[in-house]
Symmetry: C2
């Protein structure tokens, strides 16, 4: 084999032709992407699982993946009615089966009528099946007390992530100091940092106030904005409400202040409301717990997600509703995109990748551009569209499936509430761990004290101190959680994100193991 060089500068030595695509030649923006929720710690968890299967002895018998909000992977049972309607749509022969309730059949027939060729196998239009967007619009109207929603402003998506990335993509422009900047909360859900890195946009961090239950403070938004204007052009503000990974719920006053701020500063608002509980039943709203000024002191009764009951004076407020009710000049002008999905809440149907975005006050020509951009990817997956449709219009009290649907949903929500309470309680009883109220109902984001020698040891190893803690936790206990550094945190503080989704009989020992491990780890490095 002869040595060769080609005519455009690629080296060829020892007959080994260099690859076209290498770390050095690939898209540098992609290299910068990080995604902790499925990062190195999760890859190590997969390896450990494999080792356990191969019979390797470990100090634990199973890996518990508390790293990702994947309810059904942790044993949460799907809601029967959702799956019945979807099975009927997938295999319409079942419409003749006596094993399915009439309302499930009516729902499936109605959806199939709206599909091309009456089949889920056809593409829908790119923004999603018209009928389903109409149902989503009616859901939003109920949620917001009758404020109109236009199906033409609703785009169904492949999970919420897909829609979020589409909006960010539209917003990115400029170069150097005019490059688009996007304000995101710290801690954040790392989809945002990953998408901004990929799009080569500027991530502008604003910090949530851990001491005030992760409250959002407009003064901090302003600080972040003013500093960012030195090096980029901030054009959008992301709010995650309820917070991910932090789980707090914004007050109405806070949302109003954020809207005024965005309006005055010329920022497009992106409201990630994915964790806003279950899309509510007819006439009801999603609920969440009250933030408290100091979580270790006051703990309001846990009634998370029981969507007709609210903790004292607190509830989920949609940005759309608050914006509209604020009236002029905000209501008719402030640009807003609000995101939701079927992955969380009582549905937990992550694998189907159903979601939507509602656009408010978007420039009509830009919205056409978005329509065009979406059409390149043809359409969101139809099964996710079906589940979304059922989730936004669950059985009515007069429907045969109503009682079972409500019972299943309440059981899921009650268990989540109990697990949220347990998690918060055990963590706050552990010296060196402190946990704000788990209001978002799926995640906890406790702060851990790490002894200086552990921090030093981590630095010697070239890993973040909380990564060091989480890796040791995984290796010694099989518990997989994500270090706070993957979400962002104030310098010198350490956290981890843990879902509260493991079943109660596993969650209790898991929390105790974690608590004991922290004590042991602290002793070891003190």
């Amino acid at each position: 084999m002869a040595l060769r060089t080609d005519d455009h500068g690629q080296a060829a030595t020892n007959g080994l032709k260099e690859k076209v695509l290498t770390l050095d030649t690939m898209n540098p923006c992609v290299r910068k992407v990080e995604y902790a929720v499925r990062g190195p710690i999760v890859l190590r968890a997969l390896e450990l699982e494999q080792e356990l299967r191969q019979g390797v002895k470990k100090p634990f018998t199973e890996v518990i993946r508390a790293n990702i909000g994947d309810a059904q992977a942790m044993g949460q049972t799907p809601i029967t009615f959702l799956r019945q309607v979807l099975a009927l749509c997938v295999h319409p022969d079942l419409l003749n089966s006596p094993d399915f309730p009439d309302d499930a059949k009516r729902r499936a027939e109605r959806i199939l009528q709206a599909c091309g060729g009456h089949s889920l196998g056809a593409y829908s239009i790119s923004s999603g099946t018209q009928l389903i967007r109409e149902d989503v619009a009616r859901y939003i109207e109920r949620r917001d007390g009758g404020i109109p929603a236009d199906p033409n402003n609703i785009f169904l998506s492949t999970g919420a992530s897909d829609a979020i990335v589409t909006l960010l993509k539209l917003l990115v422009a400029g170069e150097g100091r005019t490059r688009t900047g996007v304000l995101i909360p710290i801690p954040q859900y790392p989809l945002y940092s990953a998408a901004l890195a990929e799009l080569s946009a500027v991530q502008v961090d604003y910090y949530l106030d851990e001491e005030r239950a992760w409250a959002l403070d407009v003064a901090e938004l302003r600080r972040a904005l003013l500093q960012a204007r030195d090096h980029c052009r901030p054009r959008a503000l992301c709010i995650i409400n309820p917070g991910n990974p932090t789980g707090q719920v914004q007050t109405r006053e806070c949302i109003e202040a954020v809207i005024r701020f965005a309006f005055e500063e010329g920022l497009f608002l992106l409201a990630d409301e994915v964790l806003a509980g279950a899309p509510a039943g007819r006439g009801r709203r999603a609920a969440a717990r009250a933030p408290v000024t100091h979580p270790a002191v006051a703990r309001p009764p846990v009634q998370v997600y029981q969507d007709n009951v609210y903790a004292e004076g607190s509830q989920f407020h949609s940005f759309k509703k608050v914006l509209t009710e604020m009236g002029p000049p905000y209501a008719a002008r402030q640009e807003l995109a609000s995101f939701h999905s079927v992955s969380k809440g009582y549905m937990g149907e992550c694998g189907f990748r159903g979601g939507y975005v509602e656009l408010v006050n978007m420039d009509a020509a830009v919205q056409q551009q978005m329509q065009k951009l979406r059409s390149v990817r043809l359409c969101p997956p139809t099964p996710g569209q079906v589940l979304l449709d059922v989730a936004v219009s669950p059985p009515a009290p007069s429907d045969p499936s109503f009682a079972q649907f409500q019972a299943e949903k309440r059981a899921v929500l009650a268990e989540l509430a109990a697990k949220a309470k347990l998690t918060e309680q055990v963590f706050n009883e552990t010296p060196g761990i402190r946990c704000n109220p788990v209001q978002g109902a799926m995640y906890s984001f406790p702060r851990v004290q790490l002894p200086p020698r552990a921090v030093q040891r981590a630095q010697e190893l070239g890993v973040a101190p909380d990564m060091f803690f989480c890796l040791r936790l995984l290796e010694e206990t099989g518990i997989c959680v994500v270090p706070g550094s993957g979400f962002g945190q104030r310098e010198g503080t350490y956290h981890f994100r843990m879902t509260i989704l493991p079943p109660m009989e596993k969650l209790r020992p898991l929390l105790e193991t974690l608590s004991q491990f922290h004590a042991k780890f602290t002793r070891e490095y003190s």
Copy 2:
């Protein structure tokens, strides 16, 4: 309402605050994206459908959407076994039903065992369920006569488009004259031009030879490459085989020549094999018709996609197989990504968005980067993964569902073959229309002569001449096809892409209407 101006240069006049996001301020790359398959002509078709529903009188009673390869929207029946397995996975209560065959139940149980929490509602790992990637690997091995395929090199995706865009994204780098260029065929499937525009990569056109049944000529590849090197850095070569919209099938000799060319010139190969027929049954291969030197003269017998029968000496060759069989230095070094989906072929399950890419000789570190990038979007939709699994491992002869599966599949393929033949025949009998053999089994891309006065009139109206023709066709007949300008074509030639998917009883009158319309149009502008 007071006049106001903010502090970063946004104008505010008459109290009307400018939007943050306008055509002028949005991502300029997104503005450049075009996607003809769902472009203005399709939007007009939607409007016409609405007008018909509202009772507006038209010279036709329905709009026939022959613009998009959406088999089930045109009445193609889903394959029972695929839907049975998926329904069982969606709603496992059905595993107790006597209405499902045992092999469908076994398949569903096997898949559910491989899912988190034994539920489709859980996320899969980002590259797709391990078991399903193993099944895909075994399918590829059967297809390629035993050449090994590694499940770790297979990434499941949200339709093939998703995987194609991911690969392009990895390849984009550089600025100005070092910007990544990607060679794509003209005519092309406009996903490529759209994705390259969005990624701000350089589209490098190479022309297929219409006179030789859309043959791919290496001399033309070289011409395109050398010209492109003046203004960009070409790093990848896309081949669509079978062609979309052109439907030709590459010969083995052609594929070998392309691989040698790519190797010598340092190009990453992207083989879009989405139209490579049905993933074959056990031990069989996808088939396609022989290209002929002049289609109007020689027409080989139409036995498209009957996957154990090939037209004289012609068949589908996968790039992976040819590459491997070419041995050193190509086999172990040439980088290749090959794409497939469940949207086309006998399945036609577009709405579920199932697909995959197999990577060959990709740099291991880059493949890790791809894994990371994919993980940000969590996972491909699980129902599409299930359908892909069934499609790549259909019932074996000993399975209870074998006979029905084969009968249904053959019926679909036989009808497609008959429709391909009819389409080609009617077009070639029409003066002023000429159509190469419809080998890709779903699309025809006939060339139409347009009279100079029609071309002039179109130019006056500021639209492409074939767009003008297609719009008039739509307004007068309700037939929706896509102008060739949306796919690219040689200057001064005009085409349209029409699917052959309408049911036979509609396709025949459609073709005749189209033929008569062309005659009338030609008279009108002569």
